[in-house]
Symmetry: C2
Subunit: 147 residues, 2 copies
Amino acid sequence: MILSQTAVYALRATMYLSQVREVGPTRVDVIANELKVPRNYLSKILHLLAREGVLDSTRGPHGGFQLVRPGTQIALETVVEHFDDLGGCLLGRDSCDESNPCAAHGRWKNISESVLRFFRETSIAELAGGGPGGFLVELPIPAKTPR
Amino acid sequence: MILSQTAVYALRATMYLSQVREVGPTRVDVIANELKVPRNYLSKILHLLAREGVLDSTRGPHGGFQLVRPGTQIALETVVEHFDDLGGCLLGRDSCDESNPCAAHGRWKNISESVLRFFRETSIAELAGGGPGGFLVELPIPAKTPR
DNA sequence: CCTATTCATCATATCATTATGACGAACTAA
DNA sequence: TTAGTTCGTCATAATGATATGATGAATAGG
């Protein structure tokens, strides 16, 4: 698989959040149930995304997670980069660039760049909205609650 | 990393074998030392490639591994497919195609295909020969020894 | 046939990823 | 201030990938 299970959970969860029509946070349990994903595991993933500024988290009643800005403005890369290293050396070397290339570097570069561009230029809302059963509506920008 | 460590070992080993100028098998120990890769682990990998018809293995004195045909005629895919599943669903679904697509399918398809094309159309000799310090000479076709 | 050589394989260890269960900390509302 | 709700986090488990060490089986050459 190209992405780790963890990164896929993160993507699917943020995609889900980008489709929630009601403003305000959504509980982990709801997301976990909806996506059929382990609750505590997802909790850690979302917590990390909150620490990294992709989500807002709120505790207590009416708490949960929400996107810090509409899904149309969040690139897949923004979510995935915290879990997987896309764009590393194909042959697994620590350093691999023009001045010190691996055997595959020159030929792989173009492909690699188009992959990176996909993650950089595709928004989670684009994916969430494009799939079967997805919504195409624009979301209101949720109020940013300071922590 | 896009490829597993195992797949990278397999690639590097076959690339190495494609550059060996002498006809006949090369011992695992030589390859492992040369590539700085764990010997027994590499042994299993090469054994699997032999079972799968990518390599010939010979036991006893003067034994070792060799490519079944010149590296110019072995695609990266031929080596990698036995270890990693390239081209699976981006969101990790078991089945994902035109008739039952995941949310990312349509947008990811083009990128995915160019990745697959790279592995299908690039030979191990191309990589081995293209890197710094590589050889560009053509190899004689090694005699196919029945097992 | 014997011996050295080499791959084949078994048992086990280590590590990272993925997952589960229990409890603590923060928050809301009454 | 109390009770209920919800995220936060700790401890631990299960699994798969990666790695090591010891031994078995096939082969070539004397």
